[in-house]
């Protein structure tokens, strides 16, 4: 779905299945529950803010002038830290789906929420595709393999149609980018 700002745009797959996405959806609106792992997000922002605030301090030591190159990063990382603390404060009373569970279970639920099987497999496919590009297999071979294998995983039993789609898309991309606009392909 579009950027329904603040709303998780994932609908439940079929009636009766756990509404995993609902917590994320609810969280943005001023929610009743926080999704598994949701309370860790502001801490992640806080960690990023603190790390880069320290890096900005190191820069500031080299150039302590107000209009120097370190002032603005200090300011913006300070703002991130402040906003993250406010987010932690706002979230403190909201119950989470992981209420009362052990740390191990919380982590497991969080990972399962973020990376259900299909998403995990597609992420793995993407990383293998990137590795193939990096290793020099070439855009045409890597992309063709990625397209075909992904389509066959997501829509099994229609391999011929998947193959036709793969061929058409690859030809179209090659024609538009390489021939028409003379853009280099990876």
């Amino acid at each position: 779905m579009a950027e329904k700002i603040g709303k998780d745009n994932i609908k439940e797959e079929k009636p009766g299945t756990p509404k995993e996405s609902q917590a994320g959806e609810e969280q943005a609106k001023g929610p009743q529950t926080v999704a598994p792992g949701g309370k860790a997000m502001p801490f992640l922002f806080l960690g990023i803010g603190i790390f880069f605030f320290y890096q900005s301090l190191l820069l500031h030591q080299k150039d302590p002038t107000l209009d120097g190159y370190a002032t603005f990063p200090l300011l913006i990382t300070g703002i991130i830290i402040l906003l993250a603390l406010v987010d932690i404060w706002q979230n403190r009373k909201i119950p989470t789906e992981n209420q009362g569970k052990s740390l191990g279970e919380k982590i497991k639920n969080g990972v399962r929420y973020l990376l259900p099987t299909d998403t995990l497999i597609m992420v793995v496919f993407v990383f293998v595709y990137l590795a193939a590009l990096e290793l020099g297999l070439g855009f045409v071979i890597s992309s063709t393999a990625f397209l075909f294998i992904s389509m066959c995983y997501l829509i099994p039993k229609k391999m011929v149609k998947n193959g036709i789609y793969t061929a058409v898309i690859m030809v179209a991309i090659y024609a538009i980018f390489k021939i028409l606009f003379q853009v280099y392909l990876p």
């Binding site: 579009a2 943005a28 922002f45 990382t77 706002q90 299909d118 993407v126 990625f146 003379q182």
Partner: protein, 503 residues
Amino acid sequence: MGAILSYLFTPFTDPLMLVAVAAGTCAGVYVGAIPGLTGTMAVSLLVSLTFGWNTHVALAAMIGVFCGAVYGGSRSAILLNIPGAPAAVATVFDGYPLAQKGKAGMAIGITTTQSVVGGIIGVLVLAIFTPAVSKLSVSFGPMDYFLLSVMGLLMIGTLGNTSMVKGLLPAALGILIGRVGQDSISGVARFTFGNTYLLAGVSSVVAMIGLYGVSESFAQLKTRNFPVVKQDVKKVVPAFGTVKKYLKLTVKSSLIGSVIGALPGAGGSVAALLTYDQAKRTTKNPEVPFGEGAIEGLVAPESANNAAVGGAFIPMLTLGVPGDAVTAVIMGALTIHGLRPGPLMMAEQPDLFYIIVSLLLLSNVFLLVFGLTGIRLFAKFVEIPKGRLIPIIIILSVTGAFAINHMLYDIFWMIGFGLLGYVLKKYGYPVSPMVLGIILGNLIETNFRRALVSFRGVGGCIRSIFTRPITLILFLIIVYAIVSQTRWYKKAIQSFREKRAKK
């Protein structure tokens, strides 16, 4: 007067110029519609291709591509949830939900007509109000640019139903990400950790493709078995009554867009976001809520970003300062052809100004034609089953990310942003503020530092808020944007409305 009219009619009577502007507009629409290909890239290519051409014909092609590309970005925004250009970043908010409801045809039809109307208004502002708008843009100081960019970020961070903090955190993170690389003023490397690739910083287009395209692809995996939504493309051209219904909003957004476009560096993206926010705050009882397919959510940004095109020519032609990246390239092209845009242009080369006005007008006419064609073909793309569409979008995103700088690292960054965007969406953090933070971060920082130098410190900057009218107005808008999101304010407004209803 006779001379002015003859300059204005020159493009209409020169078949080569007519063909060049038509071909440029058509090419621009499709370039803009493909994520990763930008109008700036296309115009840059044209500079070398048209080197030996007649100057006016070369200019016609470039202007056509410029106008077409700004509009074209809305196509992929509506159909794929990936803005084809930064100026289309606000179009995804309501354009994509419309496509998901099977109304992609209607959405594209409306964006086309509104873009044309906005573009024509931008040209009229250019033709009639150039001296006044030029004066206004000159009076904008660094503090004003800083506040304008902060205002844009605040507005996007407070859009939608999310809490203000959840909207501002990604924005601040986006600004921080934009600081990676060489500082634009001192040249010092920041946050590169010794990696030479990071010296160039993070491309906002790469971030945009990842945060919108790839993250959405991962998010859509859950619903891939849902039946495909058939797109209704029977009625694409909006009824005259529909265009008339939104005319007031179109004119208002276009005027704002023209002025914002005239501010060097501000551009179509700022214009689109500000007018989207303005439309959201001022539209009472929209038929569909904003963010779920509100027509007003398409009308405002699309008319504004095309009006900004005309506005971008104002500082270029009158001050010799480009309004945005594309006009910077066009300025370079004009210089190569022996022309000098700037303060003396109206006296030394008056024909150039009026020919540009005419070419912009012609380009908008062709935009209406080309914008309303090919919609069925584009809409069919969205009807591809998600199990096939998702890998296709990922491949297009990879190609688009690589096309910018021809570096594999950009693809890795793009995928990284895609995963980050996916995680943010899962936990209710919007990604648009992050994209805007990356786009506007440099403008904010540069003007922040210039303001500190101009006004000799923080105290001077604060004093300038109360001594300069433009600065005061911008500051008050920012204060209102923050206060209006607080619980206290919302309660106060609600009780005021209840008291008024009782009376």
